[in-house]
């Protein structure tokens, strides 16, 4: 059986739920720097919260999880290409 190229997009109800989750994560994000008990894990925690928001928007609002695999490949080539680029920029500026 042929694989279905892409699935139907979500309903407005799903969009509102995702927006509520994004609002909740943002509230936690804003609180984290002011809670001193979280200082040891502040950096990874803030990165994790940003990643949740990033992938929620990309997956649901940009519909990437419902789209053709080609679009995912094209986009994530750029997203993950950032990391070697980071290294190149830092090396070129003698950061190490």
């Amino acid at each position: 059986m042929a694989e279905v190229a892409h699935r139907a997009h979500p309903t407005p109800r799903t969009y509102w739920i995702i927006a509520a989750i994004l609002a909740g994560v943002t509230a936690i994000e804003i609180a984290v720097p002011y809670i001193s008990a979280l200082d040891p894990i502040k950096v990874p925690l803030l990165w994790a919260l940003a990643a949740i928001k990033f992938f929620a928007v990309v997956g649901f609002f940009m519909h990437l999880r419902y789209e053709k695999p080609l679009y995912r490949t094209l986009f994530f080539f750029g997203v993950f290409g950032v990391f070697p680029l980071f290294i190149v920029v830092l090396l070129s500026m003698h950061a190490f």
């Binding site: 804003i30 803030l46 940003a50 928007v57 609002f61 940009m62 679009y71 094209l74 986009f75 750029g78």
Partner: protein, 197 residues
């Protein structure tokens, strides 16, 4: 000799929508690298404040509020796209207008923030920190401004009934661009503001 008239199907219209959409994803991927290099530069210079102010002048509650506004504009954008897919021009127009409005509020907030920072002594030439900060957030602001212009163009087209004229930009492509502007800000807000507190 009998002649049969055979209907000839002329395929003079190719569906270029998937190609345009793929091109948009390639563009957004390349934009990730563009902003990635600017974020790397900011991280490198974040402590190079010289005699000028540094991250202590940031007003986190204010920037949090404007970040929240931009985040919610992604919701209104996806609702505009949903209405567009359901061939509901009125709802599409309302949500497009709401998205443009939220984007404009974000931009107004950024202009206010920049003005405050300049008054506190942080300019583009004050320090490496200032240069990296204004270049990164300024380029993002320019992207938001372009997005608002495209949203307003879509809003205008919705009145003239040309919203579904599928030859150029459409709501879906503008939406992808707008969501991208939002996800870039998610990263900038974390790296530039929250991690510097």
């Amino acid at each position: 000799m009998t002649s049969h008239s055979v209907p000839v199907e002329v395929h003079d219209h190719h569906d270029v929508r998937p190609i345009r959409k793929a091109a948009m994803w390639v563009f957004l991927g390349s934009e990730c690298m563009f902003f990635g290099s600017m974020i790397a530069t900011f991280l490198l210079y974040r402590n190079e404040t010289g005699d000028g102010p540094g991250a202590e002048i940031f007003d986190i509650p204010f920037t949090s509020a404007s970040s929240f506004i931009l985040l919610m504009s992604s919701l209104t954008m996806v609702l505009a796209h949903n209405a567009f897919e359901n061939r509901d021009p009125r709802a599409t127009r309302i949500w497009l207008g709401a998205t443009a409005l939220l984007g404009t509020i974000f931009l107004a907030g950024q202009i206010f923030e920049f003005t405050e920072f300049v008054h506190k002594g942080l300019t583009l030439s004050t320090s490496s920190f200032g240069s990296a900060f204004y270049m990164l957030t300024g380029f993002h602001g320019a992207h938001v401004a372009i997005g608002v212009l495209m949203l307003m163009a879509m809003f205008y087209l919705s009145f003239s009934g040309r919203l579904y004229d599928d030859r150029g930009l459409n709501v879906e492509l503008v939406g992808l661009y707008w969501h991208f502007v939002d996800i870039v800000w998610i990263v900038i807000f974390t790296v530039v503001y929250l991690l510097q507190v």
